[in-house]
């Protein structure tokens, strides 16, 4: 084995020893006089930091899954952190582990679906940062009083917020009695926040249309739409702009 491979093997031994045991095996590789408690402190300190990050990140889920802290601790003990993992990545792995390990109630599955939608938006924002920033700029530039004029302008394009994902709730636990499940819910990023909105079937169809067509003018959309006429789309766009789900250039 080359020196570097030897070194890799040594680090692997050290890292695994620190993650899987109580550090006793590592103590033998320490300079004379080192104390096993120091290794233990290091290991426990790292686990606590990871726990703290996950706990803060999964705060909302804790409302729907009693004893989630216990599950997070079990997960940390059996699933080492992967290289470079952010808290989003670690939390997503936790969700996968949770679904495999625990028989979740349908209500709890809705909390998982909601959390997962947030992770998907964050991943979208990370991988398509240019689109995210461009839409944000366009959206912030819009004057709410000018949206109507802009929509009527043949040169103004309607852009759907690219940082959105759909998720489905199968129970009413997160619906506040506003709809009868199953319901498709739109999660999206706006003004550096994660937001959620529920659309009726008409609205859902229109958003899916816009997603399919890409940026277009009101006239183009109206000509292509199977769901609505120009006036209905105009009204709908006004509401979507308020939610920052669309941006209209020139507004």
């Amino acid at each position: 084995m080359s020196g570097k491979e030897d070194y890799r093997a040594r680090l692997t031994h050290l890292v695994r020893g620190m993650l899987t045991g109580d550090g006793r095996e590592i103590v033998r590789t320490l300079v004379a006089g080192s104390r096993s408690e120091s290794i233990k402190m290091f290991i426990e300190g790292n686990q606590e930091k990871r726990f703290g990050k996950l706990q803060a990140h999964l705060e909302f889920m804790a409302q729907g899954i009693e004893g989630i802290e216990r599950y997070v601790r079990s997960y940390i003990l059996c699933q080492p952190l992967s290289p470079y993992a952010t808290v989003f990545v670690d939390a997503e792995r936790f969700l996968v582990w949770l679904e495999r390990t625990v028989m979740l109630l349908p209500e709890q599955q809705d909390f998982v679906a909601y959390q997962r939608a947030q992770h998907r938006i964050a991943a979208k924002a990370r991988h398509n940062r240019r689109d995210y920033v461009q839409f944000d700029k366009l959206s912030r530039r819009m004057d709410p009083l000018n949206i109507g004029f802009a929509l009527d302008d043949e040169d103004s394009w309607i852009h759907l917020n690219p940082m959105h994902v759909w998720t489905r709730f199968h129970t009413d636990v997160l619906l506040d009695g506003e709809a009868v499940p199953p319901v498709d819910v739109l999660c999206y990023a706006a003004l550096e926040e994660l937001r959620t909105t529920m659309l009726d079937s008409f609205g859902t169809q229109l958003v899916r249309e816009l997603s399919m067509y890409g940026p277009c003018t009101l006239s183009q959309w109206s000509a292509l739409s199977r769901a609505a006429g120009r006036d209905e789309i105009f009204e709908f766009c006004t509401s979507l702009a308020e939610l920052r789900l669309i941006a209209v250039d020139g507004a």
Partner: protein, 274 residues
């Protein structure tokens, strides 16, 4: 020349960024790398000196950092107008296919570890180009069997790669107490190998068994201020920036300002006597 003086930027100390004694900030990459953030982390403010402090470059790992991670660090550096980038002399993972410890560990001070660390730092420096890279000495509670001392290892890293030294004065203080060596001698022996220096200052606490924990949770102790003065004196002309770190038990506004002013006063006094 007086170094730029500032804080490791936290939400809790944004209220004192108008402090006249403050001219620099350190942006922790893992805090600034928020997928949903649009504005830059320094909030559009102008500083004389900005440094991005990374936690997972892991230069003592068997593999160099992945390009995705380097790209992300560079993006945050670009967005915040950073002059430099830094990370710790340690490893947070074994290799690319391995696992992450979550916090950096001190490497075994061996010649192979030295070769690997220098190779990785050279890759990092080549990647960041004009931006200076600084390597920080870390606080450790245990030390693996090795072939040389930490000071010898660090000296060799600085001399071979030409990277800067992020001298964490509190880490030297903690290690000197916990591993029984002379903190002044450590700084005196390493400083000549460093072409450029940044300084970290923080405060920790003593465990019941007398171990000093660098927890960034207390005011900077008198002994660390004295060591800082010594570092400024022997590193005269090399120190680019000084950053105060605090992560717990946050002080009130006057506490933040008081430490920044003191760091500047001591640095200016050294400049005057030079």
């Amino acid at each position: 020349m007086t170094p730029a003086i500032g804080l490791a930027l936290r939400e809790e100390n944004r209220v004192v960024l108008d402090e006249p004694a403050l001219s620099a900030v350190e942006v922790t990459f893992e805090r600034a790398n928020d997928d949903l953030r649009i504005e830059n982390y320094v909030g559009g403010m102008d500083f004389d000196y900005v440094s991005v402090h990374a936690l997972k470059l892991s230069p003592a790992s068997a593999d160099p950092p992945k390009t995705d991670y380097l790209d992300a660090v560079r993006r945050v550096a670009d967005e915040n107008g950073a002059d430099s980038i830094s990370d710790h002399l340690g490893f947070t993972r074994d290799g690319d296919d391995g696992v992450e410890l979550g916090h950096f560990s001190v490497p075994p001070f061996t010649s192979v570890a030295l070769d690997v660390t220098c190779e990785n730092i050279e890759i990092i420096q080549n990647y960041f180009g004009e931006r200076h890279f600084f390597i920080e000495n870390i606080a450790y509670l245990f030390q693996f069997d090795g072939e040389m001392s930490e000071a010898e290892f660090l000296n060799a890293v600085l001399a071979r790669t030409g990277c800067g030294w992020l001298l964490d004065v509190t880490n030297v203080y903690a290690n000197a107490l916990n591993h029984r060596y002379d903190a002044y001698e450590f700084i005196r022996s390493v400083m000549p190998s460093a072409g450029r220096v940044q300084i970290h200052l923080a405060g920790g606490f003593f465990e019941e068994d007398g171990i000093y924990i660098d927890s960034h949770s207390h005011p900077i102790p008198k002994e660390v201020w004295e060591l800082y003065e010594f570092a400024l004196m022997i590193g005269r002309g090399k120190v680019d920036a000084v950053f105060i770190e605090r992560d717990q038990n946050f002080p009130d506004e006057s506490g933040w300002r008081g430490e920044v002013r003191k760091a500047r006063d001591l640095a200016e006094r050294q400049s005057v006597t030079s």
